[in-house]
Amino acid sequence: MEKGILVMLRAFTLIACGLLVFVLSAAIVRGLPAIDAVFLTAESKNFGLEGGIFYQTLGTLILISGAAAVGLPIALGSALFQTEYLRRAPRLKKSFRVLMDALNSAPTIVFGLVGYLVFGAAFGVSWLTGAFTLAVMILPTMQSSMVEAFEALPETYREAGKSLGMGRGAIIRSILLPQCFYGAATGLFLGLARAAGETAAILFTATTFSGVTIPESASDPATTLQTHIFTLAQEGLDPRAAENAWGAALVLLTLVFVLLSAAMWIRSRLHWESAA
């Protein structure tokens, strides 16, 4: 009886982990044949059936770095606000956390629609609109990870700073930020990974299908790996489209996994350091 249940539990765990292996191998088996130097460096042609995904990859990178540039300071600031300036107002602090949870739970397509309405009014369908939209979307991801890092810092560090007569600003600058650097970086990379995998939020706000090269102005749309795969996926009939879709999917997956690995690696350093 006990044995049987144990075997079953193990099987479930293997299924769960096996899914990752399955997704990865599907992407590799189907996508690898598409990938060569030309595919990575050429412009896409003839509806993505020919050519490569250079500008798509570039577009994804532009969007996520834009999102990070906008979102990071806001996430960092609001995390500090929540942990350092709301210490004596636990109710306010809790409301702020609930607000971030709420933002986190919002479906991504909703960010896309509202992002179009707000940022699109200023920049039209453009990479900048997309970057702003993604920044709002990944804000709670980054923020909560940073809050966690700040709250994990022992109170004694803050008190040691205070006992030396340092103001709150000085404590943040000289103690909190250096000590929580890895925590903040973890949050940043988790947010970037989330942004890189997102399609619905940028479908209407940032992208067009073809003809995009390097954006020349704030009002230029981008093209991204995500939306490229989305279009090609609907064209599954043509084997070239399927192959290129999987090729792009493999590149995207690699990008996301690199970002995630970075986040995990930094986090492991974090634990290592606090243990030391």
Binding site: K45, F47, A69, G77, A122, V125, T208, F209, S210, Q234
Partner: protein, 286 residues
């Protein structure tokens, strides 16, 4: 490490980046073309060639369907909207202020299409009534129209799509007719084509240019006569589900947009229309 001064700098940069960003938006030499997935192959091919002649002009295309094309041109989100149907009364009324202008690019026809498996069992043509009944859900099995004993996977398109407009206008007499028999609703031509090919018992509607050996076009039976789904029958005016492929602009085209539309309507552009599987201007009897 982000120093607080740096942090402050970034915050300020973001705040102060907005106005110049908005200014940048003004000076531009790009043309945004959005809309029908039937027209998009022509425009993208043309854009690729046009760029080799006019390297400074950037032409961006985006799919979405005829409804999106009309909406994008009507709200001036795009410089050119693509539609594979005429503007509806609702659209003309709604975008009155944009003074929409239509430029006919070429001609196309929509055929009822089926999975190759169905075609091979001998279903080669259907009457208007039969197709209508299939979409209304009155005919649900292929054997009722002389095919195999298999339920019909009826594939409909999103309601704003141009292809659906002209197809339903002919089959059910109303461009926006409901299709209670439908099993799937698809968007772009590519998506519909893929779903039909993946199935072994599907019926759908596609522009001629998407017909191939996995997705076969059906003839239209009218009494004893069968009108074959080929460009010949469109050229001679006998195929009834024909339509114009249009470009829509808000007001008369200006500058770079004008140049590109002229290119499309000129001999080079019309050659691309033909290469893409459509009928160029001035080649039909109607």
């Amino acid at each position: 490490m982000l120093k607080p001064t740096g942090l402050l700098g970034v915050v300020l940069a973001v705040v102060f980046l907005l106005p110049p960003g908005a200014c940048l938006a003004a000076a531009n030499n790009k043309i945004l073309v959005e809309g029908s997935t039937t027209v998009i192959p022509i425009v993208s091919r043309a854009a690729e060639r046009y760029r080799s002649i006019h390297p400074k002009v950037r032409i961006l295309t985006k799919a979405g369907g005829s409804g999106v094309g009309a909406h994008a041109a009507g709200t001036k989100r795009a410089d050119i909207g693509m539609t594979s149907r005429e503007l509806t009364l609702h659209e003309i009324d709604r975008y009155k202020s944009a003074k929409l202008q239509t430029h006919i690019l070429g001609k196309d026809a929509v055929a009822p299409v089926v999975s190759s498996e169905v075609y091979q069992t001998g279903v080669r043509a259907l009457t208007k009534k039969q197709i209508g009944d299939i979409y209304l859900g009155k005919i649900v099995n292929w054997k009722e129209v002389g095919g195999p004993d298999r339920p019909i996977v009826v594939i409909d398109k999103e309601r704003h799509r141009g292809t659906r407009h002209v197809f339903m206008k002919y089959i059910l007499g109303d461009a926006e007719a409901r299709a209670p028999g439908a099993r799937l609703v698809t968007g772009s031509n590519n998506e519909e084509q893929t779903k039909i090919a993946q199935s072994d018992s599907a019926i759908g509607m596609l522009s001629f240019a998407w017909i191939n050996d996995q997705v076969r076009g059906l003839g239209l039976r009218d009494g004893d006569r069968v009108i074959e789904p080929n460009l010949e029958s469109v050229r001679d005016g006998s195929f009834p589900i024909a339509r114009n492929l249009n470009l829509v602009t808000a007001g008369p085209p200006q500058g770079e947009v004008k140049g590109f539309i002229e290119y499309l309507l000129g001999p080079e552009g019309q050659k691309i229309v033909e290469e893409s599987g459509f009928i160029p201007l001035g080649e039909t009897h109607r």
